[in-house]
Amino acid sequence: MPRLPVITGLGFITSIGNDRASVVRSLRELQHGFEPYVFWDNPDLAVKVAGTVKGFAFPTPSWRDWRWPDQFAVDRELVRGLAPHGVYAICAVQQALAEAGLNPADLAGGDTGLFCASAGSPFLLGHFLDQMRATRGERGNPMGIVSSIAGTLNFNLAAHYKISGAVCGFVSACASSSHALGYAMDEIRLGRQQRMLVVGAEDMTTESILPFATLRALSNNPDPAIASRPFDRLRDGFVGTGGAVALIVEDAALARSRGARIQAELVGWGQAGDGHSVAASHPEGAGLREAMRRTLADARVAPSAIHYVNAHATSTPAGDRSEALALQALFTSNGAKPRISSTKALTGHGLSLAGAMEAAFCTLAIDEKFIPGAAHLGEADEVCAGLDLPRTSLDEAPSLVLNNSSGFGGSNVCHVLGRPRNSIYPI
């Protein structure tokens, strides 16, 4: 009997909520997490909205000035090596462990691995290098490197939770945490690990978000209610966000043996490159189409079996178009018509966080029996003709869900998640 990876715990620090109940409510009621945001104290900038993370504050690079909600415990010993997104991650992991019925000590011992994804902390790295430059190399924060470079998440979480299984970070931009989850599935399926902690996170700072304005990738719409509108004819770019999402992935046999509640099965995953551009997606979504095809093949399900697609669509003109064409090619051309929405309309684009966050949303859709609607969608782009983009969330219980992610350089990664009942599809 092949090993089956399943999800038994989720933790959320997101623009639409810092706990499961708030996130479910936001997804069901299509409440967005955006606020007006002045980047670098410059009101003249065209970018005016962000997916803020409420209850946290990182006003300076010094951890002494940082604040987080009282219900989360972040020790002094730990926080000195963390980036802002590391603080989010600790708070998300605490939730995921509690939901899975695990203690932090259960992560030690070698049976549990840790796969993470973040872009590091441009905020802290910039400050660290400024400090070294100002002293001509004679001074620097000893924690400067481990708190700021890509990998800071896995350095800190692995040490803090004493994880002696597989530990790795993934860097494929906006597909990063989808890679982390996909390879975590493989660790379980290959029998290398019994349990995987998967964490995606990003800082919610000017330094992490505003550089995308140089690519003209950010929305210039000042209205938080419509700035992020994936697949809409008038979409003009994405709205940035940060946060952290943690998933506890376990071998189904282990989960059952310890009486854990299985929220969703991880049925298959796949990936494909565009082989096209360093920054832009393939104009016809060729890589994403192939990634979806491979994922369905891995899951051994037909396009018609997919009930809901959580699209990558970030609200950029080119990217959403590519994905719409890929979805047409894989589903519409095969007579399939799944419900489709991009929850980035509510959260904003979480970059390295996005894939894990949206896999967790897919888990919620399966476990809580609903389909998130396509928020903020006025008039759909004509390229979406034939795609089923429900304007409101639906009380439908999806059995099989597809999660899409795409990153710079044309990395496309998808997962199929399923309702925990083996009989609904062949394994």
Binding site: R64, R76, R80, G81, R139, P142, M143
Partner: protein, 127 residues
């Protein structure tokens, strides 16, 4: 809220150093100003213990000034090499002294640290 020391005590302290210790308790800031004004080593000791407390990885059960002088930084207080490096850099900048790696590894206890910083500061003043 911590209140800032009186302006008369600030005479010998540049703004950059006042800013560097603004997160420390008001009585420690006052002690630092006193040390800078008259070289009072008891005041210096209070500043050193406050810096240690600021960087200690795990809070100490007893106040540091209530612990015996032979209390070891690593074995008893839980300091690791990174936290000690943080203390060293902060202390170097605040007191205008230079501490070599070979020197700091000789400092094992609270008394070692107090004595070491006193000697360094005295050498600074002599120089």
């Amino acid at each position: 809220m911590q209140s800032a020391p009186t302006s008369s005590a600030k005479t010998n302290v540049p703004d950059s150093k006042a800013a560097a210790i603004r997160h420390l308790p008001a009585d420690v800031q006052t002690a630092f100003h006193q040390f800078e004004a008259d070289g009072n080593v008891a005041a210096l000791d209070r500043v050193i213990l406050a810096i240690l407390k600021d960087y200690i990885p795990r809070p100490s059960e007893k106040p540091l000034d209530a612990l015996p002088g032979e209390t070891r930084l690593m074995d008893d207080l839980g300091f690791d090499s990174l936290a000690i490096t943080e203390v060293v850099f902060f202390t170097e900048d605040l007191l205008g002294i230079s501490i070599a790696n070979e020197e700091i590894i000789q400092v094992r206890s609270l008394d070692d640290l107090r004595g070491f910083v006193r000697r360094k500061v005295a050498a600074r003043k002599a120089g």
